[in-house]
């Protein structure tokens, strides 16, 4: 279980459409701000890296201080970004794959406009459960 983890989904337009604090530790406000800054900056790296591999899971692509950014890029160039401080590649990969399934279910909803914010509470619950399971 990661002590600090922040999960975010960024649409292909570089706009975050979902975010959650997957970590168990309670965090201070400036820390969560810092997480956002790190994730935002990591997009630059993902942008280039995504085209160099056919794999969706890009593993840990960036880090700052103790925090590592792992990224999973879907075929539609939606990016799942996880900020964490523990190395548990297998768990993270499984987490991303299951979240991807959930995300596809969201996309299948005819009322969901791709690229818009994910507001489904069901999705949120599931993602948190996955985070507890794998991270």
């Amino acid at each position: 279980m990661a002590t600090t983890a922040c999960f975010i989904i960024v649409s292909r337009n570089d706009i975050p459409i979902y975010e959650t604090d997957a970590g168990s530790a309670t965090k201070r406000e400036d820390a969560s701000q810092m997480h956002q800054f790190i994730l935002h900056a990591a997009l630059d790296i993902v942008q280039d890296l995504a085209w160099t591999t056919s794999a969706m899971y890009l593993k840990a692509i960036d880090r700052f201080n103790d925090m590592v950014v792992s990224v999973y890029v879907t075929a539609g160039h939606t990016r799942f970004m996880l900020l964490h401080d523990s190395r548990n590649d297998d768990g993270i990969k499984s987490f991303f794959q299951e979240v991807h399934e959930l995300y596809i279910k969201i996309l299948l909803n005819p009322l969901y406009l791709p690229g818009s914010r994910i507001t489904s509470s069901h999705f949120d619950t599931k993602v948190r459960a996955l985070a507890r399971k794998y991270l």
Binding site: I15, Q33, H40, A41, D44, I45
Partner: protein, 1126 residues
């Protein structure tokens, strides 16, 4: 750590530029600008200054291709503790600069310069300039001197050997072993230093040779730090040597060697003194140098790795300044790579480090660094967007430029990076406040408040409002910030010209120049609009020089504090608009629509209309929600202003009331009105009885300030049933405006100025003034019903025949007139009786709250225009009838004068020609005209009856009862209008006894027991000969036939029954007989006739169905008064 390091740094000669004496700031800058660019100085150019005193140690100095590289350190710098380690860190030369006009004493200048130079112990060459060293030869001379000094140094180092130490060594406790080791190491270090100088002297081959030796020695003595240094130097030498050569293997070689450099710097890390001094900064510099060398998009993965590991090192850096430099360099390299978000991230780290320093200069630096991040975080100031718009385009060379664009399109609220954006803006605000930059603080607070107010707590909003207020206090008055704050300004609408000053295009080719310019019907879409989109008219707006214009804008304050807008006004970039600023208070969470007005001052097209709003910011120049029409400003036009004389309120009229109103038109413009035309529009146009076209035409041109009064006669229309229902509740309630007609006055000024004939085609537009006649109709006297009454008073049989009715029409006019004049009463001639006299009874009710007086008049003969129109005498006047409020009254109109003289077949055309449609072709012209005559005569009759009223309010009018009368007459029109086919008259005949004058008997009476000769006159009113069988009966008061039977009281001579008479058309036939009355009293004589061989006309008149039915004509009863004794 040092900023801006690269591999080539090792080959650069540092020269401090120092100001000596007093130099004005700007002059110093000019001096500095000379040295600003460090450029390589070719060895070939310095050869003239170079004198080889002894054999040069730089054996392979490339005199043809080599060069010395200068790096000017403006203002100098303190000596670095690592000078011995890398010769390029030394200040090798000092150049003093002084300003001759301010420092005339050269001795003192030299003294000061010497003093300054003492601080630069490492300087080998010092020069002081009191003028522009514009001659590049001076630089060459310095270069040559430096080269010679390097040679000297190398000789010295080679021969004696200097002790070279670094801070790392100093910390090591000097045990005996280490002293021995240090001695061993010295040689290698000396070789490394000589290599450095060779490199500075521009001789990479020599440098490489020395570095190779140094590497060998350092490896043997495990002097890792110096090994890494030598390796670094050798890489630089390699690069300089290979300059201009395209060697693909070079990059790999450099990368391989640099990895080794980094590795050895890592190895040189000594745990004991890591708290105080560490080679870490060299390792990080090596990282940065390699990254800078490789910095290309294709190698981004490697660079990211290098920079990330460099960033990892930041934690271990002891000096905060080093960390700052590291982050700056990382940010710069990421920026070069095109990773703007990464660059922004590290820039923000830099800014945070600056902010930790807590002084003003650091805050200014932080502010500047943060300003660089705003683009990546999409929180740019408007000013920077407009300045850098071209950079945006250039910078988006990367593949995802579309993505970037899209991101900027998405509004801030949707973008959930808002937390970052708010943090950045807050930091900008903080640093601006610390740096004492009120404009930047204002801008940041404005951006924060405007874009993120929903995410900011009320307390935060108030704080921002205070920050704005504080900043604006410190700003000089009139400063404008390109970032708008609150309130939100939104264009609400462009009010079209009011109907009072509408502008219409003028078509000079037509007499009615206004035609086609304005929508002519009630339809929003007109199919005749030349196929242009319907809203094209909305997009065009004409403003007139000198006339105020208005624009509605909505101001919104979504925040929790009270907002006072000191001044908001319209402005145009061209400046040709005089605005009227207004100030307004916006309570928390409120919005207001306000009218901004101004006066255009010059002719032309207006573009870039914008609102200048408070807090010294410029509002939205691009108006989003509403399309801005093309506004063109035209020269002054005339302006007519109208008002109704006596008040502009509603004109209250009773139904049918006729009244003159006076409309005053004044030219309020500055241009005379030269053309004007009045027309009517709207409903109930027929209520305007007269329009003074001529009056208006006669006053043209209407000069500015002139006024004309136009009389208009109105006649109130009849309220419809719906209106009545509406009005039933409240009397005097104003009806909908739509029911009132309007006067449309199209007017225009002179055509074009004669000054510019080429523009003659452009005709200044005209205007349209709509004068709504605000008529309010009150329910007045109302007509309830009409019906015909008949009155049967028998005539007396007298000696003279009563005058036939039709005679009166022509001959008897004068006499009747005099009678009418006397009392206007209906007179009944006793001898004529009133048989056939009909009365039209009108029932009128007065539902109003005033008294009405009815004046009924019947025109005698409206066909005779001269009489009926010109003289009152032609009318039968009847006494006035007064109808009180809420009462009704009946008025009786006698219709005795309306019988037609001739019974003509044409009247029955309809009746006896049922298949008229088929035969209509054959029906003669005369028949048609005759029928029309009947219709006309009915109308004629009706139009002759006029019911005029006068209300208690002094108004008067006419009651429209035409329809009612028509309805009443419909059933019995024939009876009333058409004469019977036969009319009968009885007359006493005096047998040539001419004693009429002295006869004592009452005139027209008959004596009993006397033979009374009588005549019956039968008049044929038709156009055909009528044969008939006439019978005469005489009845007594009881109604018994007293001629025949057993108890006959009247004897007779002559024939009374079955008299066959033939009456020629329109002539009378006479039949004489005598009666002998036995008993005095009242008798009634009745003549009747059975028409033989009646034609169709007669049948139609008698309304018989079958042709066999006998037509029976009965005359009116005649009374005979028989006097005498029984």
């Amino acid at each position: 750590m040092e900023p801006d390091v690269s591999i080539e740094t090792s080959s650069m000669i540092r020269i401090a530029i120092l100001p000596i004496g007093e130099i004005p700031h700007q002059t110093l800058r000019d001096y500095y600008s000379i040295f600003h660019h460090h450029h390589p100085i070719p060895l070939s150019s310095i050869s003239s200054f170079y004198t080889e005193e002894q054999k040069s140690p730089f054996t392979s100095l490339p005199w043809d291709t080599g060069s010395l590289r200068f790096k000017f350190i403006l203002g100098g710098s303190p000596p670095s503790p690592w000078e011995d380690f890398q010769a390029n860190r030394k200040i090798l030369a000092v150049i003093g600069v002084f300003h001759c006009p301010l420092s005339p004493d050269l001795d003192s200048v030299i003294e000061e310069f010497d003093g300054v130079c003492k601080g630069y112990a490492s300087a080998l060459v010092t020069r002081c300039f009191g003028f522009f060293p514009c001659d590049s030869q001076l630089e060459d001379e310095i270069a040559a001197s430096l080269l010679m000094e390097f040679e000297k140094y190398v000789f010295q180092a080679e021969s004696s050997g200097t002790i070279l130490k670094t801070p790392l060594d100093l910390q090591a406790s000097l045990s005996s072993e280490e002293v021995i080791q240090a001695k061993k190491r010295r040689l290698g270090r000396a070789q490394k230093t000589i290599g450095d100088y060779c490199l500075l002297a521009g001789s990479p081959v020599d440098a490489n040779a020395h570095y190779s030796t140094a590497l060998e020695l350092a490896r043997l003595t495990t002097d890792y730090f110096w090994y890494a240094g030598a390796l670094e130097g050798s890489i630089c030498a390699l690069l300089i040597d290979q300059i201009g050569q395209n060697n693909p293997a070079l990059e790999d070689e450099v990368r391989y060697r640099f990895n080794s450099v980094i590795l050895h710097y890592k190895k040189s890390f000594i745990q004991e003194n890591s708290q105080r001094v560490s080679p870490l900064s060299f390792e990080l510099e090596a990282n940065l140098k390699l990254a800078r060398y490789l910095c290309r998009r294709e190698l981004s993965k490697d660079i990211v790795e290098l920079l990330t590991s460099a960033a990892d090192g930041a934690k271990s850096l002891i000096d905060a300044t080093d960390r700052l430099v590291l982050y700056v360099e990382i940010a710069r390299l990421f920026g070069t790579l095109g990773y703007h978000r990464k660059a922004a991230f590290f820039s923000r780290q830099v800014a945070q480090l600056y902010l930790q320093q807590d002084n003003r200069l650091a805050a200014i630096s932080a502010l500047q660094v943060l300003a660089l991040t705003t683009r990546a975080y999409c929180v740019q100031s408007r000013a920077s967007i407009s300045d850098n718009s071209h950079i945006n385009e250039v910078g988006s060379r990367n593949a995802d430029s579309g993505k970037m664009h899209h991101r900027s399109v998405v509004s801030f609220f949707e973008s959930q990076w808002s937390m970052l954006q708010m943090v950045v803006l807050r930091e900008i605000l903080l640093s601006a406040a610390r740096a004492g930059d009120p404009l930047a603080a204002w801008s940041a607070a404005a951006r924060l408040l405007r874009s993120y107010y929903p995410l900011i707590t009320p307390v935060g909003q108030n704080g921002l409002a205070r920050a704005l207020a504080n900043s604006s206090e410190r700003l000089p008055s009139g400063t404008r910030c390109s970032d708008p704050a609150l309130p939100f300004v939104r264009l609400y609408s462009f009010p079209q010209h009011s109907s009072q000053m509408d502008i219409v295009k003028r078509n000079p080719a037509r007499e009615d120049w206004w035609a086609g310019s304005a929508p002519s019907g009630p339809f929003i879409y007109t199919p005749f609009s030349n196929g242009q989109p319907n809203d094209s008219s909305k997009k065009e707006l004409i403003w007139i020089v000198g006339e105020p214009v208005q624009i509605l804008v909505e101001l919104a304050n979504p925040c929790g504090f009270n907002l006072k807008v000191d001044s908001i006004y319209l402005s145009v970039h061209s400046g040709n608009l005089d605005p009227f600023p207004i100030s307004i208070d916006l309570p928390p969470h409120s919005s207001k629509v306000v009218t901004l007005s101004g006066i255009p001052t010059s002719v032309g097209l207006l573009k870039d209309l914008c609102f200048s709003d408070p807090f010294r910011s410029c509002g939205s120049p691009r108006l989003k929600n509403i399309s801005v029409p093309n506004i063109s400003v035209v020269p002054p036009l005339p302006l007519l202003v109208s008002h109704v004389v006596g008040g502009d309120g509603a004109i209250i009229l009773y139904e049918g009331e006729i009244r003159d109103i006076y409309i005053s038109l004044a030219n309020a413009g500055t241009v005379p009105v030269e053309q004007a035309n009045i027309s009517l529009s709207g409903k109930n146009q027929d209520s305007v009885l007269s329009i003074p076209y001529e009056t208006l035409k006669s006053v043209l041109p209407l000069k500015p300030g002139a006024e004309v009064i136009l009389p208009v006669t109105l006649k109130a229309w009849k309220l419809r049933l719906v209106d009545l229902d509406n009005a039933s509740g409240i009397m005097g309630r104003q009806l909908k405006d739509s029911s009132s007609p309007s006067l449309l006055i199209h007017y225009a000024g002179p055509f074009t100025d004669f000054e510019d004939p080429p523009k003659g085609s452009v005709v200044p537009p005209g205007r349209r003034l709509v004068v709504p006649l605000n008529i309010c109709i009150l329910q007045g006297l109302s007509f309830v019903k009409a019906h015909l009454l008949s009155m049967e008073i028998p005539a007396h049989v007298g000696e003279n025949l009563p005058k036939p009715v039709y005679v009166e029409n022509s001959a008897g006019k004068e006499t009747n007139v005099s009678e009418t004049k006397m009392d206007g009463l209906v007179k009944i001639d006793l001898f004529r009786g009133s048989w056939g006299l009909r009365f039209l009874e009108l029932e009128l009710s007065n539902p109003t709250d005033v008294v009405f007086e009815i004046n009924l008049s019947v025109q005698l003969d409206s066909t005779d225009d001269k009489l009926s129109l010109g003289q009152d005498a032609a009318e039968y006047g009847y006494p006035k009838t007064r109808i009180d409020r809420d009462n009704s009254a009946r008025v009786v109109i006698p219709l005795e004068h309306f019988k037609l003289p001739i019974l003509d077949g044409s009247f029955f055309m309809k009746d006896f020609k049922p298949d008229e449609a088929a035969d209509s072709r054959n029906s003669s012209f005369s028949e048609k005209s005759a029928r029309a005559e009947l219709k006309a005569s009915v109308n004629n009759l009706i139009s002759r009856i006029k019911v005029r009223w006068q209300s208690g309010r002094g108004s008067s009018g006419e009651l429209n009862i035409k329809d009612a009368i028509k309805a009443a007459l419909k059933t019995s029109a024939m009876d009333v209008l058409l004469p019977d086919p036969l009319t009968f008259d009885f007359r006493l005949v005096r047998n040539n006894l001419s004693h009429g004058s002295n006869d004592s008997r009452p005139k027209g009476s008959v004596l009993a027991h006397n033979m009374s000769p009588m005549e019956v006159l039968v008049r044929n009113n038709s156009m055909d000969m009528i044969r008939m069988s006439l019978s005469i009966t005489c009845r007594d008061v009881a109604g018994e036939n007293c001629v025949e039977g057993t108890k006959a009281t009247v004897l007779w001579s002559g024939v009374l029954n079955g008299i066959a008479i033939e009456a020629p058309p329109l002539q009378e036939s006479k039949h004489s007989f005598s009666l002998y009355f036995l008993v005095p009293g009242e008798y009634t004589l009745v003549a009747a006739a059975v028409i033989e061989d009646a034609n169709d006309i007669l049948r139609a008149r008698a309304k018989t169905g079958s042709p066999d039915e006998p037509i029976f004509c009965r005359g009116p009863p005649f009374h005979v008064h028989v006097i005498g004794t029984a």
